[in-house]
Amino acid sequence: MTERVRIAIVGSGPAGLSAAARAAQLGLSHLLIEKTDHLSDTIFKYQKGKHVMATPSQLVLRSDCDFEAGKREAILGRWNEQAAAQGINVAFHAEVKAITGTGDPIPGSIQKIVERKRDGSTDIKEIQRLAPPYRLTLSDGREVIADAVIMAIGTQGNPNLMRVPGAELPHVQYQLDDPAEYNDEHIFIVGTGDAGIENAMGLAADEAQGNVVTILNRSTEFASAKPANVKGLMAAAEAGRLSIMTESTTAKIEPGFITLDSRDGEVKLKCDRIIARMGSAPPRGFVESCGIEFTSGDRLAFPKLSPVFESTAPGIFVIGALAGYPLIKHCMNQGYDVVEYINGNRDLKPADEPILAAKFASLPEKRSVAEWLEYLRTNVSILEGLSPLQMREFMLDSEVRAYRAGETIFEKHDAGSSLFGIATGQALVEVAPRANVPIAAGSIFGEVGLISGRRRGSTVRAGTDSIMVEVSRSAALKLMSSNPPAKRAITRISTERQLLQMFGAGLTPADLSEVLDSAEIQTVKAGEAILTEGDLGTDIYVIRVGSMIVEKKIGGKNVFLSYLPAGSYVGEMALIAGGPRTATVKATVKSEVIRLNGDAFARLMAAKPALLERARRDMAARQDVNAFIESRKDSFSTVVDMYSETAKFLVDNGIGEATDVLLIDEHLCVGCDNCEKACADSHEGLSRLDREAGRTYAHLHVPTSCRHCEHPHCMADCPPNAIHRGSDGEVFIDETCIGCGNCQRNCPYGVIRMDSVPPKKPGLLSWMFFGQGPGPGEPSKKWRYKNAEPGVEKPKKAIKCDMCSGIDGGPACVRACPTGAAIRVSPEDFLTVARLDGQAN
């Protein structure tokens, strides 16, 4: 039995449905092929009552089916009605097994399918493509002949599976049909995309179900989820309905238990069910067998498509999630557009065209949107892996600008965390006055701001007339999380620049190429050692993220030697002097190191005497410390012990990731709280520190006050991007804060408060002599309420320590301490043996 249609549409999701609806409206003969018994299986499988969102909000919907944000049931109901009303021809229970051309062989069009085997070898199959019409063989034996095929099968075909020991156990599932099914269970959700977040919220929504829900996030950010979902999740966590574990990955699954690698090392937790929602990869084998080529061999790559979604097999169009676009609105627009195109409408522009056209309008050359997109994609190396479709989405979040030669792109110390890609021209980075380093077209700059959140380190100007793409922090993070080649490219460039900056010594990128080829980025868990005393090895480690402590075993005890912040390197001693490692280097928090091959580095040092000299100097300093500790080990063993223990306490309290921290010596603190009062009086009447709260060890008190972390947790998810690092290293919140409270929730040290600025107090002298106002320090709630401007509700904004930046004289808390108990230190200053020397004398 063979049916003949103009268009065969495979998959009845938003994309396929919209395409079928358009075909029905245009009166084209069509068949919508759906393998289940209902339309739109992906949305059908959403949780009951799930709120389906309609992002991106600036995009207009162009489809014969309606869609707006709402409950799953409402949306499916409306689509079912509209499909019936428009006379869409649907074949349910039909799965396409094969699609082959029935025409003549297309000359020169041969599909190469690379099959990777488990043992690492590959098989290459070659298939001659045949011209349309296509024959679609269905699972029930039917055949359909179609002039054009629209593939809208989505990606749910094969969800990404967990790859840890125990992943095959029956309580690991990749789907959650009805959250009400589960009661009184310890449930872990793996994956922090929208699906994972919604599952977690669904399971935790009804307290009566008694589920203990934990969502695992391997990083600290929720880059791949919709902001509204992330906000909801944060609010649920805040309310204690579920917990979020950041920087955690699954290590092992056993019946009843799950073992996690977390920031604080390995933990084993009770677990009755694991729901893994880690995204999905295209059902690639089937798609390739139809003659559709993918952009790369990467597991997460998408099909190669023309701007009208035509694949490499002429007449087969790919739309929707399979094309790399998971958002419903886009899918529906694409369905409409593709059918219009097949019907001969060549002038139809995609629905987001006006938005993009406006972005390109100011550029000097006149090109069409499609041309610009392709131009940027091919000229900026990190964008090469994107499909035209992804490129469209990417550009919606990014800006493109033309600069004249010599024009400043950003100034040193400007706040900014965006990444720049050079499409044409050249950027000049001012490393010293009148000394510029050029960055060529195709490359990127500004990545330091992206990775560290610090202010711009140098001024960058356009070397020639240039066109640059400015990628916002969120778009860059999304690019890195969804496009591995882009992530690798950004990582390599940032590694190279970090090494150049660190070693200086007249190195050029060319010198580093061998070392870089061998470089490897490793993630180190908290407490894990990268070097162990006595081991052999000559590799050099550069600390990229986080920090390390150096310990040496003396008389059977680990003695703390020093603290290494990000931007330090270790391992040169064994390389230069030979012999085993002389000390153990452990991560204080979850860190990232760049491991450089020792031999390659040795060759580099041989070629560059200045570098060798530099390394020798660093080594000599370290040997001095080792010798000092050795010499003191007998006479001052208790002092050394005390020092080691105190250092450990501080590292446990987050000093490991601090850059500047307030400590209080409780031998001296009389509890007058003048530090808090001074803080409030220096900052609009609100104190940013709580002296009494916090941990204490050996009378060294760590109050609740910002540590100015190297990689601030608070910065992770700030919608207006209002948190920056200032020129003195302070992490501050600027006036664009919208008061969402994300930073407060993300801070592991609880140092951010949400409050509104109190009314202005009368001056100090009028308080002293006439008793006016509440006096020094933070005014009481009562006074604030009584003196508030009537009718004006001031917004609550996030407030935290800014290290009194811009205030002459420095931090008020320290200046205002009458007894000298309050001190501010940076860990590398405080955690050194120099202190030991002082105590011993």
Binding site: Q498, Q501, M502, S562, Y563, L564, P565, G567, S568, D618, A621, R622, D624, V625, D665, E666, H667, L668, C669, V670, G671, C672, N674, K677, A678, S682, E692, A693, G694, R695, T696, H699, H701, L764, M768, G775, P776, I807, D808, G809, G810, A812, V814, R815, A816, C817, P818, T819, G820, A821, I823, V825, S826, E828, D829, F830, T832, A834, R835, G838
Partner: protein, 292 residues
């Protein structure tokens, strides 16, 4: 030793990270104050005033002027402490100078009198000054000795947390006392109604609360529990255990309040006495010049 690529640290090498107000800058103000006292004593001995040293001689006026200027400056500490102006000043340095220069007033003030004391406004000013200094000495002593005890006692708890802990035990006590008979429940109610801040100044400063309702309730309840074997099921046993915990928490809170009170009480003498001193000093100076 760490090979840090970024900016060098803000602190100069070898600078001591922290020392208290007494040791500030290697006892700078102690040295200055000692020198001042030494000069005052030496000149007192060397200068020959006839018939004898007194406040009205040129030497006496010099000492008096130095003294009154010092007193005015020392008073300004209260302003300095509260005025969070910009600039490179350190309250610790001010405190250090305040302590040592204040002590030097003992010498300067006494030499100014020429050891002529009597029942008059002049000696009143002197006596008030000594009162201020003595209360200050007490302050130095408690500042130097009590912070460690305060830190040890609170064991990472804040005062609010201590109060909260007492309240939490109270809530449990309230629930646990429900099955008790009238007489016993009244005792527990007494403990619940007890104000942890009550007891007056003496109790606060000594840390002794003889009329503590919790202690009384526990002692009375022990009459009942004393002759019974512990079964672990009696409601009274639970109440007894809770009262025990409340006692321990109250003891910590009271120690905390006692230490805090000792750290602050002297200021209630020091500061008002200072203002009385300023008044007496004004009277002293005016009368001296009036009767020139």
């Amino acid at each position: 030793m760490a090979t840090r690529a970024s900016s060098p640290t803000r602190r100069a090498k070898g600078e001591t990270l922290h020392d208290g107000f007494l040791r500030h800058a290697n006892f700078r103000w102690l040295k200055i104050a000692t020198l001042l006292c030494f000069l005052a004593i030496a000149s007192y001995l060397m200068v020959d005033i006839t018939p004898r040293h007194n406040g009205g001689s040129w030497y006496g006026y010099t000492m008096g002027t130095i003294g009154v200027l010092l007193i005015l400056w020392l008073t300004l500490l209260g302003l300095r402490k509260r005025a969070m102006t910009r600039g490179r000043w350190s309250l610790k340095a001010w405190t250090s100078a305040h302590v040592y220069l204040g002590l030097s007033l003992i010498v300067i003030g006494t030499l100014h009198t020429g050891f002529q004391l009597g029942w008059n406004v002049h000696t009143l000013a002197y006596a008030l000054m000594m009162l201020v200094i003595l209360s200050g000495l007490f302050g130095i002593t408690v500042y130097a000795t009590l912070p460690t005890a305060l830190s040890n006692n609170r064991a990472e708890m804040t005062q609010v947390q201590m109060l909260e802990a007492v309240r939490a035990i109270d809530r449990q006590l309230h629930d646990a006392a429900q099955p008790l008979p009238q007489g016993q429940a009244a005792l527990v109610r007494q403990s619940l109604g007890d104000d942890p801040f009550g007891g007056g100044l003496i109790a606060r400063l000594t840390g002794r609360y003889p009329r503590c309702a919790t202690a009384a309730a526990q002692a009375a309840l022990r009459h009942w529990t004393g002759d019974h074997a512990d079964t672990g099921k009696e409601p009274l046993e639970k109440v007894d255990a809770l009262l025990e915990r409340k006692q321990a928490m109250l003891a910590r809170l009271r120690r905390h309040l006692k230490l805090k009170a000792l750290l602050e009480i002297w200021l209630t003498v020091h500061v008002p006495a200072t203002f009385a001193l300023l008044a007496a000093l004004t009277a002293h100076i005016v009368s001296v010049f009036f009767y020139w």
